[in-house]
Amino acid sequence: MIQNFFAGLYELILGRPMPANFTNDYREVVFPNTGLQLFIISLALVVIYYYVLNRMMSTGFYKTQHWVLFLVLNAIIAFIIPIVQVNSNGIESHSYTYMFAFVNMVYSLILFFLFSILLKRGSVQAWTTPMKWPHKR
């Protein structure tokens, strides 16, 4: 089910995997692995940002620019994951691979933002980062 979910998620934008002969490697291994890793890493970074750096430790990284830094870090990781996944599963590189990496990166931005919105209220120092919405106080 998770396989279908992630395959659907990526193919929605990317279309059928290419080269086509690696379709099920993508669908059964690469997509779900990438998706899960994206999910876990994004969540982990959000948690680190809001709960470790800005709750437990109260470092000064509460500004939007720091949040953006983490967002970008997450995006870079999200770009690398698919390429590593594709290579480690013996799949031929293709322009599709990089499109995939790019889409994953875009997803990482969305996911990081979403997690931020969901979890930021638990942070003492940064619950208004990147913005106050949707919390009132």
Partner: protein
């Protein structure tokens, strides 16, 4: 609950009230009352000291009202004008902290109707008053002439303001006088008002309550001197050489004729360099002085006593420092005094320093962003008031603190030009090291954010003040470890 009426008489009264306002702004607790009603009595309507005290009071009132009623914290003590204490709003008097003399701008001679007197009476008047006394206009005050003051001020007892005061006086309310003993208005006004309030035959309403009201007085002995005018200049000035003589006479009078005061506080100092001699009007705007700050503490002390403690025989207080030093720090104050004010003043100072120097950079910090502080700072009038209170060049906190540092004997507990929080308190510095940076902007933001977590107010002003209260308290406790 009970009110405290503070009569600030003359220039000294205004200046002591100014320091009192600063103490209250810092959150120094005034016990046994929930409202302070300052009444400044000074016929010199242009008096610079008075006017900036009035501005300060108005600003304070805005800031207090913005925060609402609280038990502690910055600006928590309620200050009201006389007219506003009447719940029904029937007061027909001006809404002001200042007693309204109704513009007496004629010479004393005309005021007493000298020219209409018969010759014998004129001779008596001539005996009591100098020609200068008689020809001086009254709107500049009594210029260190209690003999003039006592005549003029006697009239105010029958004024609508005084009747309004008396009719709103309730059992349990207290009265405190602040006056100098060496000036004109104060020296004359204090015994006069006291006599009227305590007179069992007084025509004022609520006579019984007034008669039995717990009353305190701060009598400021000479602590400054004035420059002698250059030779040849017309002698239109106050002669400070007469201060000591007048003080002695007054004390002698108080000794025998002053009744009904429960506690009298005396305060004085050896004069340092002479002040510019500006008798009255706007130019009489003297720098704040340590003596005034300490005098204001008398009010705090007075209110610390319970009704029972004050009901006994009259008590007399004098103030003394632990050491005769020219730069007074918190450690030179008595432990009791220190406990009352030191922490509060340090916290307020931290607040002021951070608020003016660093807060503009904190637009993104949670405590600020959470209440849209940046736009509030721009748009909400209350923040303009706060800025005024802290930084106004005339009456602001910064100015006040600077003035306290200008004298020979200075209030040097807080290093005014220090930008490093770790070295702001003169008698206690924060040790810093590689890992411990003490109090710096980051630590401050952290505490502000943490503090704002538990603040539910959405109002930017309230939330910000409360955040600063909590943050400064945490910083003083955990970093400065001031005890």
């Amino acid at each position: 609950m009970a009110k405290l009426f503070v009569f600030g008489i003359g220039g000294t009264g205004s200046r002591v009230i100014r320091s009192l306002v600063m103490l209250m702004a810092a959150g120094v607790k005034i016990q046994n009352c929930d409202k302070i009603v300052p009444i400044i009595i000074d016929p010199d309507t242009q008096n610079g000291d008075m006017n900036r005290t009035v501005e300060l009071l108005k600003t304070y009132k805005h800031l207090h009202d913005g925060l609402g009623r609280r038990e502690e914290g910055f600006f928590h003590t309620d200050i009201s004008t006389l007219s506003s204490i009447a719940g029904d709003g029937t007061g027909k008097i001006r809404d002001s902290f200042v007693y309204d003399f109704g513009g007496i701008n004629k010479p004393f001679k005309d005021h007493v109707g000298y020219n209409q007197l018969d010759i014998d009476s004129q001779a008596l008047v001539d005996l009591l008053f100098t020609p200068e006394n008689l020809s001086n206009s009254l709107d500049v005050g009594f210029r260190g002439s209690p003999n003039v003051g006592s005549v003029v001020l006697n009239e105010i007892i029958d004024s609508p303001e005084m009747r309004f005061f008396a009719s709103n006086f309730q059992a349990g309310d207290r009265i405190f006088f602040v006056s100098s003993i060496f000036g004109g208005t104060g020296a004359a006004g204090f015994p006069l008002l006291l006599k009227n309030f305590k007179d069992v035959h007084t025509t004022l309403p609520n006579a019984a309550s007034l008669n039995s009201a717990l009353t305190g007085a701060m009598v400021v002995l000479p602590y400054f001197s004035l420059e002698q005018p250059a030779a040849g200049v017309q002698a239109d000035f106050i002669d400070s050489n007469a201060f000591t003589t007048k003080a002695k006479d007054a004390l002698s009078y108080y000794q025998h004729h002053l009744g009904g005061v429960n506690a009298v506080y005396y305060m004085g100092d050896t004069p340092d360099k002479p002040l510019e001699n500006n008798p009255g009007r706007a130019s009489q705007k003297n720098d704040a002085h340590l003596v005034e700050l300490l005098s204001a503490l008398a009010i705090v002390d007075f209110m610390d006593y319970s009704d029972n403690e004050l009901s006994g025989a009259e008590v007399y207080h004098e103030f003394g420092l632990r050491e005769d030093v020219s730069h007074v720090q918190f450690s030179h104050l008595d432990q009791e005094t220190r406990d009352r004010v030191a922490k509060q003043l340090i916290r307020f100072h931290y607040f002021e320093r951070y608020y003016t120097a660093h807060m503009p950079d904190d637009a993104q910090a949670a405590y600020a962003k959470g209440v849209d502080l940046t736009s509030a700072l721009r748009n909400e009038p209350i923040f303009k008031e706060l800025n005024k209170f802290l930084t106004h060049p005339d009456f602001g906190y910064q100015t006040w603190l600077k003035e306290l540092n200008r004298k020979d004997r200075t209030f040097a507990a807080l290093n005014i030009n220090e930008t490093d929080f770790n070295r702001m308190v003169a008698d206690k510095q924060i040790e810093t090291g590689f890992l411990n940076k003490g109090i710096h902007q980051g630590a401050f933001v952290k505490e502000l954010n943490r503090a704002s977590e538990s603040i539910s107010d959405r109002d930017a002003y309230k939330a910000t003040i409360k955040a600063f209260e909590a943050a400064t308290e945490a910083l003083v406790d955990s970093k400065l470890k001031y005890a």
